[in-house]
Symmetry: C2
Subunit: 330 residues, 2 copies
């Protein structure tokens, strides 16, 4: 498998160096693996910190900036960051108003963020935590007890980030983050496996002519393998799985997400089928985001995340955001 | 080759339907294959129209909006749009101030835009035209007499779009577009071939362990095949090829572009090496854009485009832009 890298050992550090070169508006500490919003901490503002294994770019570093995250902690590829990174991030962004940790539900991430929360509290930082667990495909997956955390992370980071930007106190930001997670569901499909730099070969076998329904963002097994399906058939399976679990009775924001290796031309075509499938199920779509946001390296495939919204959540979605990967209104 | 599509025949129409669903701020005519900025024509403003074969998304439809294009004409995959699309686009965006056609240098595109310019002029629309030919890799390629047009298209569309937004007359917008093209050079590298929906198999053979230096955005042959190289070695070849031809004596804007199938993690790492290679050649970088902007379906690989800038071009780069794929300042 050919990759645009130097050596596997340095891919995360190399990417952080390149991100720093492209984004002078961020403070990037390559050695300590931290991406921090410039001018942090923002006086009086709750600090938002997330992180997780690398390989899902632009998540999380690409979501650092005004109206979203204050800091991100990238781990090695598909590997949780360590508590030390999270403690440093918390210290860097705490203005005295406290810090919210946004954690995808993988065992290593949850343990490390828990440990970091204790350490940060010992240092006088008030820490709250929300665990994102939106993936309806399976329970108790390869790295997860319960449901996996995937695309809803973007919604939690964006909506809680907008509320924090307005100056809301920690308990309100935390409650909103929890509400966003509870209002969101995801389901993913792999058309190919992904290849980690360290392994150099696909992380799982997906035979020619088959796809994996319900795949995880590290290639964890989903619900089932099937013979290749059309975009419309895939949209029906994905939308049905999400809607059946979410049972929305209000409009949703739809994230039609690429896993990394699927062309945007195909993603837009898939979005048409997702909208068709949602309309058939009487689900109204208030906003749609199409693109590669929560990826799995070079995996071909897609996922759909729906977040049911009310007026407040829609207002927070439309609020200004200025990060490398998500930017509008400012 | 598995694809997220219904049938090959409908991929462009499907993508336009999906784009319309995601972007209510654009007027998308699926049948006539047109993407038009809402509220076009803008009174007193020169209209910018581009287009080309599909498969390079977000180019060009993703660049329609305030501060960039007024309309885009998507052709079939890797196939020029037809003059009828361009004539309709010109009519839709002409406020009386005239229209600039921005054309990538491929024989079919140039012929069709030429014919469309004549037809539009017959209908009373004043049309100017700039042909983008920035790819230094080869002369007289598979679909091109002279140099191919690639990444500089983004610079021409952004910078001329910003000038048009300020209300500059057609001859100034045209002259600036020409200057941007002349100030820009590109070079691309393929780590894998791409697969068109119609063919369903890779458009060319690239053996395991080899890369193609100087590849075109349709997989056209480049300068040479070599055994696999590190990201740093690739950056040296690419930067040397561009700098040798451009010979910049002022700062540049760098587009570090993914071909579609290369993870953002790798692109950022490559950007670090591009910056290192530019620093070694005493080239100052004023701005950097990293991501998938001028793609070749699922091709793995990258390209670098440099645009030498002065104060005016840098100001136009920083000016507000609001399109699906490029958005800042508004």
């Amino acid at each position: 498998m050919k990759m645009l890298i130097n050596v596997a050992e340095s891919v995360v550090a190399d990417a952080l160096r390149g991100m720093a070169a492209a984004h002078p508006e961020l403070l990037i500490d390559v050695d300590r693996r931290l991406v921090v919003r410039r001018h942090a901490p923002v006086a009086g503002k709750v600090g938002l910190v997330s992180g997780g294994g690398s390989g899902h770019e632009p998540l999380h570093g690409g979501f650092v900036g005004r109206g979203m995250l204050d800091a991100a902690c990238p781990g090695e590829v598909f590997t949780s960051p360590v508590p030390d990174q999270m403690v440093r991030a918390a210290a860097a962004v705490d203005s005295g108003a406290g810090v919210l940790f946004i954690v995808k539900n993988y065992t290593g991430d949850v343990l490390n963020f828990d440990m970091a929360a204790e350490l940060a509290e010992d240092e006088g930082v008030q820490v709250a935590k929300v665990v994102v667990n939106d993936d309806v495909a399976v329970l108790d997956s390869l790295y997860t007890a319960g449901r996996r955390g995937t695309g809803a992370t973007l919604f939690v980071e964006k909506l809680a980030g907008a509320l924090a930007e307005e100056g809301a106190p920690l308990e309100r930001v935390e409650a909103l983050a929890r509400r966003v997670n509870e209002s969101s569901r995801s389901f993913g499909v792999a058309l190919s496996a992904c290849t980690t730099p360290a392994k150099g070969s696909p992380t799982f076998d997906l035979p020619a002519g088959e796809l994996e329904l319900g795949v995880g963002i590290h290639g964890e097994p989903g619900r089932e393998r099937r013979g290749m399906m059309t975009s419309g058939e895939i949209a029906d399976v994905v939308v049905e799985a999400v809607v059946e679990d979410l049972r929305p009775d209000a409009p949703v924001i739809a994230l039609v997400n690429g896993m990394g290796g699927t062309p945007l031309l195909e993603l837009y075509g898939f979005n048409a089928e997702v909208h068709r499938a949602l309309a058939e199920r009487k689900v109204a779509v208030a906003r749609t985001l199409v693109g590669n946001y929560v990826t799995s390296l070079d995996m071909a495939g897609c996922s759909v995340t729906l977040c049911q919204v009310d007026e407040e959540l829609l207002r927070l979605w439309d609020a200004p955001v200025s990060t490398p990967a998500l930017r509008w209104g400012c």
